[in-house]
Symmetry: C2
Subunit: 290 residues, 2 copies
């Protein structure tokens, strides 16, 4: 358990309210401090029509792309071959393998509203023990994201296997199968259409699991909310922020975004939480009022 | 100037750190409280490759759509006719008017890094006086968003007028023209390709300005980071959150998203900041660990 001081620091790193191009200042929260509003990034992702529109449109693009892509009988999966990087991309071959679409689960197929509200109301950081319980008991409390039920239904109707590759624990396989089913997303079966952390020696890297899937399927598309859902190269230890940005927006990566690789918005959590002031705001853009 | 108590409440509404599907807890901020990291929503939008990828892909979709759409000589603009709503959509006719694409400016064409860092470092909410100075003096300090220079260049090369309709003030027209030009986005001229708050009696509603633009142009696409960039109906006073969500994700709206209406992610500011706990987290998804 972190100290109150660190929790306070996290909160202080929080949320000045900012509203450009609007003539009036935003409404300050009313009511006691004991019942503040949810953190802004949670308000946006889980509550706003703005995020719902973005998520639903991404799901529509995925379903449209899948239906279109299989007509072409692609030569390669969109899974990078072992050792291939964005600097020298190469892909697993399709052969005559059946088609599959590979998805992360959390904040890609489902929204984890239960523990997100719990953590936010308590003002506590992420807690692995609470999360472990969530994996075991969350069925019925996680919601399918906007448009994701329609999306997986369309893919399956087109004959495309829908596979999840998530860093939920293999020890909690049944809980995650139940959670996805209860959200209306259909059947995922561990080892066949559900791949979990602990399935191999790769730890939180999904690369080995992707290779396993691509050995059996022609993976026509992948979707996730984190860059690690596409390649572990984006999570390389000590990768400088500028290099990570360059890799993710390279010509080779840009040729894949929306064309086999589909990224969902997630301003709630991610490795960008490490970025400092000068990573986020280049010195050349610094400005102060008179 | 708001009291320290209210600023504290805003900060407390902030940011519990949450990282599902990861085996280790996130790194707590180190160093003195005086130099915390930027607020998470700013880290994500302005600093992360994840957001850069999403923005760049949106810009690519806009440019692709524009080039494709004008070949069809559309019958109607994507600007709703006066009085039309998502329940009964009707659009301004194109006739043989020249083609245009209409954009919001802030967090749609440019990132306002200067005042965003200033507000965040100070821990202060949005300040209209500071923003007014920014409109006047920000040229060279606002950055074009990822892919937006390429996008406007492609649209103009296809013969499509690029028009901005923003709630920056008409009194600061020169500052905004200079800001867009300095960001590499080319020429915007007040009254011709730049429409500002104060141009008519509509205040912060962009509907009348959209009607003015659609009287002269066949508007093949609109793009923005707020629902008010498409229709003021989404900003109707006292519109319940559930109704706003239903309008934005209605069949009529879904037929437009990515097909004439393009929404950029913006978890930094928006009307969703008013949402309360039960708006964001439906009671049926409440969960607590044992």
């Amino acid at each position: 358990m972190r100290s109150v001081a660190i929790v306070s620091a996290l909160l202080l790193a929080g949320c000045a309210s900012t509203t450009p191009g609007v003539a009036t200042a935003p409404t300050a929260p009313v009511g006691p401090v004991e019942t503040p509003k949810p953190p802004a990034r949670l308000q946006y992702l889980y509550g706003s029509p703005e995020a719902a529109v973005a998520v639903r449109a991404t799901n529509a693009r995925i379903a449209d792309y899948g239906a279109w892509r299989i007509k072409q009988r692609p030569k390669d999966s969109v899974v990078l071959a072992p050792g291939a990087t964005m600097d020298a991309p190469a892909f697993e071959p399709c052969g005559d393998k059946p088609f599959a679409a590979v998805f992360d689960a959390d904040e890609t197929l489902i929204w984890n509203l239960g523990p997100m509200r719990y953590f936010a109301e308590k003002g506590t950081p992420f807690d692995v023990k609470v999360w472990d319980q969530w994996e075991k008991t969350g069925a019925g409390k996680a919601l399918a994201m906007p448009g994701s039920v329609e999306m997986v239904t369309r893919l399956r109707a087109a004959g495309i296997a829908v596979i999840a590759n998530t860093n939920r624990s293999a020890a909690n396989a049944k809980g995650s199968e139940d959670t996805l089913r209860a959200a209306g997303l259909g059947e995922f079966k561990h080892g066949e259409t559900l791949f979990l952390m602990g399935d191999d020696a790769g730890g939180s890297s999904k690369d080995d699991r992707r290779a396993t899937i691509a050995s059996k399927y022609c993976v026509i598309l992948m979707a996730g909310d984190q860059l690690g859902d596409f390649s572990q190269q984006f999570n390389a230890r000590d990768l400088p922020a500028a290099r990570r940005m360059a890799l993710a927006t390279s010509a080779a990566a840009n040729a894949l975004w929306d064309k086999g690789w589909f990224l969902f918005p997630n301003p709630v959590y991610g490795p960008w939480e490490k970025l400092g002031w000068d990573d986020v705001f280049p010195a050349a853009s610094n400005w102060t009022p008179e």
